[in-house]
Amino acid sequence: MIYNLPFLTVVALIAIGMYAIIFKRNLIKIAVGITILESGVNLFLITLGYREGGVAPIFTNLPPGISPDQIPEKMVLPVPQALTLTSIVIGVAVLALILSFTINIYRKYGTLDAGKIRRLKE
């Protein structure tokens, strides 16, 4: 049961993120919702690679007592960690873009409410 806890967290994070994006009207809250959704998916990718009793997959830093032919069973999977790192970088870029757009919208329309923006003139 304890090994299912990260997956339950993933479901909770994705649900909170989708709730924030769909039901909240403030643009900053929508941006935070996207970040929470992305955190949930990243957590899912890392949790996929976990192997019970494994150590960190650092090539040059073997802990004492493990010989090189015991490697595949004793290390967690390194590929999902590379996928997660790429996804975090992309998330930073998207967040920077969304915040720049929000600043520009605030300067032109004077409000941050997503429902009022279309009806206002600039």
Binding site: I21, V79, P80, L83, F101, N104
Partner: protein
């Protein structure tokens, strides 16, 4: 050194190199920057033509990145491909050819307002092209996700390029929020497939699904992929971002944005026809057909009531995507029921030919609208009028685009639409009737625009559009008329190999897995 065998990597690397070189060259001189960008795009276009020729003669082309032998996918000690594999079959080559052609024409169009475009415009333009090409040439799932994100971030920044008007930023915000959610769904589905099969290569996963059948996790991954790529491609209930994004983008960017959405449609085709192939449930083609019908209906009816000229053409683009989805849904239904030669092959031919025609036709209309906005600085249909007196060439080009979109005979729109009508009729006559009615309404809409914008008394004295804009529009019009008069050239040489690649996925798998 054999350039032919390194073609796929060069096609992605040359625009990327030019994209990073442009901000440095921009500080030196603007003319040199324009020359660098144009030479890079022209070189990519020539290399893509060589690639298309090579694929159509020699079959599927494989390129392994970072390996000692570019065609050896499975290394010595392993049983599955380890490195990133670029795999190019008929459909990939076709989509790559369209993307580079449209980018080249858009670049020629953008050069005409050269004094208003800064250096960052061309960097973003080239990065958008790299994202599109990467999505179309790759054979690895995570690579697809990364290039999808590159294309959406670059195009969102380009949509809001004229940020003095607030409505462009609002359109770009909607676009990036929806793109970001779709990309996160794709990443989740890739994680699910990786957790089950421990593989990221498309051909390897296709073989594993063929061997072990469709499990519950595969079905969840399929639904996530389908929802995400349908959101990005503008299928009907999720099309809300399309009118805003196409309508507010500057000049030629609207046209290249259509190519970006077609790249997402290509990814959907890859999922349904190649990776999941025969294990699909019959609900999937039914859903595609329903999305197509709703898109046609919504696109055409909302286009009737628009005031802004670019938004109206954007709704017509939504309807055209509906036609493509309808044809593809019918084709998938036929392939799953093994009734290929009866109607599925013709439906797929019509659908893929229509991808090509849709970009050309709607692209020409967007370029004409951009030219009108550039000269008269006015976007509202109620305030434009009598432009045919001063802009003679532009009005003739608009007539050609109008006839092509509505499906009138000498243009290429007629050739693809009649293939769609004939094949869709065999599944159910109602689909065909709705499609024909929508074409008629679209003809009515565009005749209304032509009448109100171009004919009538002259309101003010305007000159015609700049020469470079005219040149790009004339190239498009020439292609439209040429492929309308001789559709067999392109169907036999370019569309048929793409359709064959879709119907049979055995060649795709065996080229990678041996």
């Amino acid at each position: 050194m054999n350039v032919m065998e390194h073609l796929p990597a060069l096609i992605i690397a040359i625009p990327l190199l030019a994209a990073f070189l442009t901000p440095l060259v921009d500080k030196i001189s603007k003319k040199v920057r324009n020359a660098v960008v144009f030479i890079a795009l022209a070189a990519t276009f020539i290399l893509t033509i060589f690639l298309v020729q090579d694929v159509f003669e020699n079959g599927i082309m494989i390129y392994v990145m970072g390996a000692s032998n570019p065609t050896q996918t499975i290394p010595m000690q392993a049983a599955v491909p380890i490195r990133i594999v670029l795999e190019i079959d008929g459909l990939s080559a076709f989509m790559a050819l369209i993307s580079v052609l449209i980018a080249l024409i858009g670049l020629i169009y953008s050069f005409s307002h050269v004094e208003e475009r800064g250096g960052k415009f061309y960097t973003l333009f080239l990065l958008m092209l790299v994202g599109m090409l990467g999505m179309e040439l790759t054979g690895d799932l995570f690579n697809l996700f990364v290039f999808l994100e590159i294309a959406s971030i670059a195009s969102a920044a380009l949509i809001t390029y004229e940020f003095k008007r607030g409505s462009t930023t609002e359109a770009a915000l909607k676009y990036i929020v929806i793109s970001s959610i779709a990309a996160l769904f794709v990443l989740f589905a890739i994680g699910l497939l990786y957790g089950e099969y421990d593989l990221l290569n498309m051909a390897a996963i296709a073989k594993a699904i063929k061997i072990t059948g469709l499990s519950n996790i595969d079905m969840i991954a399929l639904i996530l992929f389908f929802a995400a790529f349908a959101m990005k491609a503008g299928a009907a209930p999720m099309h809300m971002w399309m009118p805003d994004a196409y309508g507010e983008a500057p000049g030629a960017v609207s046209m290249v944005l259509i190519a970006v959405t077609q790249a997402s449609l290509y990814a959907l085709l890859r999922m349904c026809f190649t990776i999941y192939a025969d294990s699909l449930h019959v609900v999937i083609p039914a859903a595609i057909i329903i999305f197509g019908l709703i898109s046609i209906f919504i696109g055409v009816t909302m286009a009737l009531i628009q005031d802004d000229i670019k938004r109206l053409i954007a709704y017509a683009a939504v309807a055209e995507v509906g036609y493509i989805l309808l044809a593809i849904g019918v084709g998938l239904y036929g392939v799953l029921n093994n009734e290929v030669e009866l109607y599925a092959r013709k439906a797929l031919q019509g659908g893929i030919f229509h991808i090509f025609n849709d970009i050309l036709d709607i692209g020409l209309l967007f370029l004409v609208a951009g030219g009108i906005i550039y000269i008269t600085k006015e976007r509202n249909l109620n305030k434009l009028g009598g432009l045919a007196h001063s802009m003679k060439y532009t009005s003739i080009l608009f007539l050609i685009g109008l006839a092509a979109v509505a499906g009138l005979p000498p243009m290429n729109g007629f050739a693809s639409k009649i293939m769609i009508y004939e094949s869709v009729y065999k599944v159910s006559p109602i689909l065909s009737i709705v499609a024909i009615l929508a074409s008629i309404i679209m003809l009515a809409i565009f005749v209304k625009i032509f009448h109100s914008v171009f004919t009538g008394p002259k309101i003010s004295e305007q000159k015609d559009v700049p020469k470079l804009m005219l040149a790009s529009m004339i190239i498009l019009a020439a292609l439209i008329i040429f492929f309308g008069l001789f559709p067999d050239i392109i169907i036999n040489n370019v569309v048929n190999p793409a359709v064959n690649a879709l119907i049979e996925n055995a060649a795709y798998i065996s080229n990678v897995m041996g």
